[in-house]
Every structure is written in structure tokens, then in C-alpha cells.
């Protein structure tokens, strides 16, 4: 690990779970996002809103099972689905459904940066970039020699940092790649290693990632499931958790708030696991 201060995390809360109660999910839980004091989760065919204590505050049906959820600058909720995106107002519900039949396959991640909209298309194994008027601008990752990101897990996940750079998990190559919005590969970190936790183990890791306000990259892995934090240069800072998840969990979506709390989707138990830093780290 690098010389940077390693932060310890503890499991603070579990939200949701498998079941048929309104706050639970019975078949699938795939995505999590944060906005204001709320936690947004997509699973089954619903978008559910929780407070930070894990109490259900709202619920809307989605047309198809949601693959991911994101919150834009106007606090609207974007739910990625098969070949479309549904947009919800936090109090009024569904306000728009957007389709781009020529380009959008399965939308597994959504991000915003510098006025642009980014959609991960797991079908084409790339990221589609649109402007604010939803006009297509360019693809990211399509110039890979493998024809796109190498995603045996079937999910493309990315995050846009504060400077507008796009960080993408490329699990088949065991690395995290950083792109400009125009699609130029700027750098990457990561290597295969099944023993050293600073590397990525298994066939294809990391599966998911997010970036916090300090530019740290938080990744999740499968088999065995764990969450790790890397500094912007790609040095491992800490392993957040490796025993909190069901062994069968994979494609664990992530979100991080301004307090440094990390929200992780356990796709096997259908819970959102919330990890708090042992020492609070408030950022602007």
C-alpha cells in the first residue's frame, strides 16, 4: 500500500434485503446512487428511495428492471434500463423516457460531467457521450483492440470525476482506465494478482467503481467480493471490506457521499451495505 494515510472502515448499516416487504427486493438489486439525504436504489422493477437510516421514503415502478441509477445536477433520477433511460423527478415521479434505438443497448451506468451526459452501453461495451440536449457526441472505449471494454461480467461501470475525466473499470484486463470526455485514453492502473490485494484477482476485476470528491477510486471485486480504495495515482489505500458480503455477490455497484461513507450493493443478499470511515472525513 502507499504511504498515504490508510482509512479504516466499519460496517455501519444494511439497507433493504431480500423479501417482499416494501423496503426489500425479492429478485434483484443492481444500482445505488446518493442525492441530498437520500439513498436511491434500483432493483426488481422499481426505484426505491431511502433515507440515510434505511427507512423507505418513496417508490416508483420502472418500465423494465433497472440496471443502474444516477442523480443529475437538478436532483432528477436517471434509471438505466434495456434500450432506454427513465427520468424521475424526486417528488413527482416519472417525467421522461429517453430512447436512442440506434445506440443504446443495456444501460449499466450513467454519469454527468461538464454539462455532458455519459451512458455505459454494456451491449456495445463502450460509453456513449451526449450533450445536454441529448445529441450524441462520441464513444469512449470503442477503440479498444478487443472491440470495447472486456466485460465478461456483462456490466460496464464508470464514474466521472470533478475534472470531467472518465474512470472506467475494464475487468478483463484487470485495470481501471482514465479517459478524456472525447475518448482519449489518458492512463490506467491495475494488474492481475490473486494474492496481493493491490492487484485485481480472478478472471475479471474490478467489476464496478466510483470516484470520491478527492479523486480516490473506490472499486468492487467479485469472487471473492471485496471493496478497495485507491488514491488517484492507483496506489492501494485500504481494503474496505472483504467479509461483509455474500460469497456469491458480483457486479456490486458503489456510491460514496461527502462524509466518505461508501454504499455497496450486495447483489446476492439484495442489501445496500453502508461503510463509515472510522474517523469522519468531511469534504466540500
Amino acid at each position: 500500500m502507499s504511504g498515504a494515510r490508510a482509512v479504516e472502515y466499519r460496517l455501519a448499516r444494511r439497507i433493504g434485503g431480500r423479501g417482499f416487504s416494501p423496503h426489500q427486493f425479492h429478485e434483484a438489486l443492481r444500482g445505488v446512487a446518493l442525492g441530498g439525504d437520500h439513498v436511491f436504489a434500483v432493483g426488481d422493477s422499481a426505484l426505491k428511495v431511502f433515507d440515510t437510516e434505511g427507512n423507505l421514503r418513496g417508490k416508483w415502478a420502472t418500465a423494465f428492471p433497472g440496471e443502474c441509477v444516477a442523480v443529475d445536477g437538478e436532483s432528477r433520477l436517471w434509471v438505466g434500463e434495456r434500450q432506454q433511460v427513465e427520468i424521475f423527478h424526486p417528488t413527482n415521479g416519472l417525467v421522461d423516457t429517453w430512447r436512442d434505438p440506434e445506440r443504446l443497448g443495456r444501460v449499466t451506468a450513467i454519469g454527468f460531467g461538464k454539462g455532458d451526459l455519459f451512458l455505459a452501453d454494456a451491449t456495445a461495451r463502450c460509453i456513449r457521450r451526449y450533450d445536454a440536449q441529448r445529441r450524441f457526441l462520441n464513444d469512449i472505449g470503442d477503440r479498444h483492440r478487443k472491440g470495447g471494454f472486456d466485460i465478461p461480467n456483462g456490466v460496464v461501470d464508470f464514474a466521472v470525476d470533478g475534472e470531467g475525466f472518465v474512470h472506467v473499470a475494464n475487468p478483463g484486463m484487470h485495470r481501471v482506465e482514465r479517459y478524456s470526455a472525447e475518448g482519449a485514453l489518458l492512463g490506467h492502473f491495475g494488474r492481475f494478482d490473486g494474492r496481493d490485494p493491490s492487484g485485481f484477482g480472478g478472471c475479471c476485476n474490478p467489476t464496478n467503481l466510483t470516484v470520491d470528491s478527492r479523486g480516490r477510486v473506490i472499486v468492487s471485486e467479485k469472487a471473492a467480493p471485496r471493496v478497495k480504495v485507491y488514491d488517484p495515482a492507483g496506489e492501494l489505500l485500504t481494503v474496505v471490506a472483504d467479509a461483509a458480503f455474500d460469497a456469491g455477490a458480483r457486479n456490486m455497484d458503489l456510491a460514496v457521499d461527502s462524509m466518505g461513507r461508501i454504499y455497496v450493493v450486495d447483489t446476492a443478499t439484495l442489501q445496500i451495505c453502508v461503510f463509515s470511515p472510522a474517523a469522519p472525513e468531511v469534504t466540500a
Binding site: 483492440r145 478487443k146 472486456d150 465478461p152 478483463g172 484486463m173 484487470h174 494488474r191 492481475f192 494478482d193 490473486g194 494474492r195 496481493d196 492487484g199 484477482g201 480472478g202 478472471c203 475479471c204 467479485k222 469472487a223 467480493p225 460469497a247 456469491g248 455477490a249 458480483r250
Partner: protein
């Protein structure tokens, strides 16, 4: 009609012919039934090596140790339509072994080295991670131990490798030793349309 053959004789010949034909058909049916090709088969959804949800279990290996043949009639089969053609395949490499100078795990899963790994398509020699790889199983070497099947199982892999009975090798024993030993009752006898 010839005057030598009466109507009664003709009818008698016809009846005997029909009886012979019926007897032949019955014999054929009995022969088919006696040689009915009910075949031993493995239900991948029950086999502990491939059953989803059974994470962290040990490899079973009974398919390789219990068969009465010297080399078991069971083989591991890679279903290419499901295979991810990964750079680091968990069914090929022992992914927790030390990383070698080539950046890959230094040990393999298969104790008989029955899995072959080849880059496919236009090959990038400078960055091997930039290639897709095809994993083929040499059936002359595979003994159906199931280790690769277990390692390929989701979530570690994509579950593309399963165990199958090779009917050209199977002796089709009435009391199959593997079926007797299978802890999950995954070894079953099915009619020819189903294996």
C-alpha cells in the same frame, strides 16, 4: 387365378404372410427394447461442481474416481458460446498462486494439463492482456475430475465448463458406479432423446 390354387389356399397364404410380418415386427420391437439406449447423463444444475449457489465447496471428483473404466467416461466440456475467453481464466490458472514474471498465475488448475490456452484472432504480442483466449479441453487427457468446472462456476467464472458423459466410452452399466457414489444424485439415466 391358377386353377391349382383354391380361394381357401390363397387366403391361407396371405394369413401366414401377415402373421410372419407381424412376428418380424414384434421381434424387431423386442430387439430395439432389449438394446434401448437409455444413457447415463449428468444434470449440471445438480452436480456440485457446477450447481449455482454452491460457493466455497470442495471439488467432488467422484466422476473420475468411481468410473469402472481406467479413464473415466466423463469429460469436462467447454461451451464456447458461454466462455468469456478471458486473459486470466480461473478454470485454467490457479488464480491464487504466485504471479510469475509474465504477470500470470504460475500454477494451473488441471492436474493432467488437459486444457490448452491459445490466443485467437489478430494477436497482440506486446500486450498479451489485449487478446482473447480460447480454452480447449483435450479429451484424451481429461478424466472428468471437475476441478476446472468448479473454478469456472459463477461468480468466479461464467459457468461455461460442465461435465458430460461421453457415450462412445461409457459402458452403460445398469448400476453405474458414479451414479451410486454421486452425492447430489446428478448422475441419471435418461432416454435417448434427453441426454
Amino acid at each position: 387365378m391358377s386353377p391349382e390354387h383354391s380361394r381357401r389356399e390363397v387366403l391361407g397364404h396371405a394369413a401366414r404372410g401377415a402373421a410372419l410380418a407381424g412376428l418380424g415386427g414384434l421381434t424387431g420391437l423386442l430387439w430395439l427394447k432389449a438394446n434401448a439406449t437409455y444413457a447415463w447423463s449428468i444434470d449440471a444444475t445438480r452436480c456440485i461442481d457446477s450447481k449455482l449457489g454452491a460457493v466455497g465447496v470442495s471439488v467432488c471428483e467422484r466422476c473420475s474416481t468411481e468410473c469402472v473404466l481406467g479413464l473415466s467416461a466423463v469429460r469436462a466440456v467447454n461451451q464456447f458460446t458461454k466462455c468469456g475467453r478471458c486473459y486470466v481464466c480461473p478454470a485454467y490458472f490457479k488464480i491464487t498462486s504466485a504471479v510469475g514474471p509474465d504477470g500470470l498465475p504460475s500454477e494451473k488448475v488441471c492436474p493432467r494439463d488437459a486444457i490448452k490456452r491459445e490466443p485467437i484472432g489478430w494477436i497482440d504480442r506486446d500486450d498479451p492482456a489485449n487478446n482473447f483466449y480460447e480454452y480447449t479441453i483435450d479429451e484424451k487427457l481429461c478424466n472428468g475430475c471437475g476441478r476446472c468446472v468448479l473454478e469456472c462456476k459463477e461468480p468466479a467464472g461464467l459457468g461455461s465448463i460442465v461435465l458430460e458423459v461421453r457415450h462412445n466410452a461409457c459402458l452403460d452399466c445398469n448400476r453405474c458406479a458414479i451414479a451410486q457414489a454421486c452425492p447430489e444424485d446428478a448422475f441419471e439415466r435418461l432416454p435417448p432423446a434427453n441426454p
